[in-house]
């Protein structure tokens, strides 16, 4: 408890810095490695290279190649190794290099990581945080732009989070790694390099809370990861026409903040959920269902979903046509306002 207070004090003193999300995550990893000798960072190319996005830059140098180390190229074994390390008392923070390469590890994640606590009735510790560079928007090769949140959120035993800006990335990672449950921490690649003044702070909100990043009263835009930024752009534009959009950053994709969603939509009566993943069975369906369950009588229109299309993630020139655009969100806002 005193330790917690110390931490909070330390955080309060942190001055505002000009930082990208990639740097903020790097700082969070440094704090975690420093505060807890059981934290281990590993994955493909996270050592000397510092990760393909440089998120683990300098960590091996600072903490040694025992705490921060490269693995051979095998995603399933990376997660399987994490399970064994956890059972031997470590706090593993594995990275899988890209979203699309989490698929080879899905068996270990779903059948092992997510249910080891359950299977052992709470005996085996499983405080694993999987860092997964996620989502699209960087015109990358195939399998480098995937959004797996629906799969993870559907998996009992996992918690899932996707930060939307550097300060959030920092405190949510601290919270994820310190949690004794397995967390999938999805990093929005498209936001890695965007620098902004941030005040790094200890986590204060409990796991599973959303946050309002812009208040409004005509409709609620719900998003996570890079789409939060897009929704803020939409809200900015809509404001010019006198439409005041509330933007809710869901951030925890499991557990989902049903109460937070309900509170916002109860006020605005209208909701648009925006995500990059394909429409069908995407997490937007869950968000829409939750809102409808909680706000049925308040809702003036069905929850609108603006998402990626039900097509494989496309290459370069088609990417901006696949991802939700500002126009598409605006059309959806219009649809809900005029319903």
């Amino acid at each position: 408890m005193t330790e917690l207070i110390d931490r909070a004090d330390a955080a309060a003193e942190t001055p505002a810095l000009e930082l990208s999300m990639q740097q903020a995550i790097n700082r969070a990893l440094r704090v975690l490695l420093a505060e807890d000798p059981d934290v281990l960072v590993f994955g493909e190319d996270v050592g000397a290279l510092g990760g393909v996005f440089r998120v683990t830059d300098g960590l091996q140098k600072e903490f040694g190649d025992r705490r921060v180390f490269d693995t051979p190229l095998a995603e399933s074994a990376i997660m399987g190794m994490a399970v064994g390390l956890a059972m031997n008392g470590w706090r593993p923070v594995p990275e899988l290099q890209f979203d699309g390469f989490a698929y080879p590890a899905i068996d270990q994640i779903v059948n092992q990581v997510a249910r080891m606590n359950y299977r052992t009735r709470g005996s085996a510790p499983m405080p694993i945080t999987l860092r997964l560079p996620s989502f699209g928007g960087i015109q990358a090769p195939e399998h480098h732009g995937e959004s797996l949140e629906a799969i993870f959120a559907h998996t009992p035993g996992l918690k899932v989070v996707a930060p939307s800006d550097p300060a959030e990335a920092y405190s949510l990672l601290l919270q994820s790694v310190r949690s004794d449950d397995p967390v999938v921490y999805m990093e929005p690649k498209a936001r890695y390099w965007d620098r902004r003044p941030v005040r790094l702070a200890e986590p204060t909100d409990p796991i599973g809370t959303s946050r309002i990043v812009r208040p409004g009263r005509h409709a609620t835009l719900i998003a996570w990861g890079a789409m939060v930024h897009k929704c803020l752009q939409v809200a900015e534009l809509a404001a010019e026409d006198g439409v005041e959009l509330e933007v809710l950053d869901l951030r925890w994709l499991k557990p989902i903040d049903a109460a937070g969603l309900a509170a916002s939509v109860a006020r605005t009566k209208r909701a648009v959920v925006v995500h990059e993943a394909p429409l069908t069975a995407g997490l937007g369906a869950e968000v829409a269902a939750l809102i409808t369950e909680h706000c049925f009588r308040d809702l003036a229109a069905p929850v609108q979903r603006v998402t990626g299309f039900d097509v494989p993630y496309p290459a370069g020139p088609l990417e901006p046509q696949y991802l939700p655009t500002i126009d598409r969100v605006l059309f959806a806002v219009q649809r809900t306002l005029e319903y």
Partner: protein, 346 residues
């Protein structure tokens, strides 16, 4: 490595082993044999929905587990390691609970037992052993992880990835393959390209050892050497214990559809590991008929106690559906638990 016939062929000798160790091996094997029979009976009575027999593999299991130190090592089993669990000192009513389907992973305490949960994903737990072992050395401790897997499991990508990791990190792991010649209905010939699991070791820069899996002494020797090597920091070993699944894959299986039982009969008659060890004990003068009769009686009693214990064990509370999902539960799960209380609770 090219021959795949079990070494030994009939002669099991325990002359070189301490008498009390060999008696202990025999005791565990005898108990496992009796408990196995009790379990098959419980399945027939409908107490167990299904059961996977370890009959014929008692030497491979007991002697490998007995070569470990349950205070510092850690075992990663599959779904067929009842005899290993017994020899390793796992609380057996809790272990057998998995077969009564009381709890998938069993009801013993995994961390206290240092024996992983029953794991039904073929190949899945093998990388866990490597992770555990890497973590062990990282801390400077000298425990060894032993991963059990079958001949069928050797085909899974996870087993390859695990061995490669272990080789790269020089992790203190013993990969212990019980090659019982069958993976459900598929024989080695159509499962293991090249015909030898042990031969794969070389490709990972680790020793690949073939051992007669029905010779308890031979298994114990091989695992003891592999464990010592790993403890000294010299890295992993792959051991292939050649044995035979004399029973069906599980009580739901029908071997008549895919194999001729003459081969199984030969193993039952000539290579029964319990009978072989018993003979070797007498031969070595490590036990006489009276002592063995006493052990047999004791084993029978223990098996019956475990049988009675697991038969009488209470069914889990429905609330347990919700209590072990997370260490820090969620509001949503609490809400769902309330629905369960209101709409389902028996």
């Amino acid at each position: 490595m090219s021959t795949h016939e079990p070494a030994g062929q009939g002669t099991v000798t325990v002359d070189h082993l301490p008498p009390d160790l060999t008696r202990a091996l025999y005791t565990h094997m005898r108990t496992a044999r009796d408990l196995d029979a009790e379990a098959v009976a419980l399945q027939r009575q409908g107490v167990f929905p299904a059961y996977v027999s370890v009959r014929g593999q008692e030497a491979a299991q007991v002697a490998s587990a007995a070569a470990l130190d349950p205070r510092r090592d850690f075992v990663f089993p599959t779904y067929r390691e009842m005899a290993s669990a017994l020899a390793y000192g796992v609380e057996m009513v809790g272990y057998m609970a998995t077969h009564r389907a009381l709890w998938h992973g069993g009801l013993y305490d995994v961390m206290e037992s240092r024996f992983g949960a029953v794991n039904a994903v073929v190949g899945g737990p093998v990388p866990h052993a490597v992770g555990w072992a890497v973590g062990e050395r990282m801390r400077g401790d000298d425990g060894v992880a032993l991963a059990y897997f079958g001949d069928g499991a050797s085909s899974e990508g996870d087993v390859h990835e695990a061995m490669n990791f272990a080789g790269v990190y020089g992790a203190p792991v013993v990969f212990f393959c019980q090659n019982n010649r069958w993976a459900l209905s598929v024989p080695n010939e159509r499962q293991v390209a090249g015909g030898s699991v042990a031969a794969r070791g070389e490709g990972y820069g680790m020793p690949g050892v073939v051992v007669d899996g029905n010779d308890a002494a031979a298994v114990h020797d091989a695992v003891t050497r592999a464990v010592a090597r790993a403890r000294r920091g010299e890295g992993p070993t792959l051991i292939e214990a050649l044995t035979y699944r004399v029973e069906p894959h599980s009580t739901s299986d029908d071997t008549g559809r895919y194999r001729d039982e003459t081969e199984a009969d030969r193993w039952r008659t000539h290579r029964d590991p319990v009978a072989l060890l018993r003979a070797a004990l007498i031969e070595a003068g490590h036990a006489d008929a009276d002592e063995l009769a006493a052990i047999d009686a004791e084993a029978k009693k223990r098996a019956e106690e475990i049988r009675d214990g697991v038969s009488a064990a209470p069914e889990p509370e429905g609330t347990e559906l919700f209590t072990h999902v997370f260490r820090e539960t969620t509001q949503e799960l609490t809400r769902q638990r309330r629905i369960w209380e209101e709409e389902v609770q028996p």
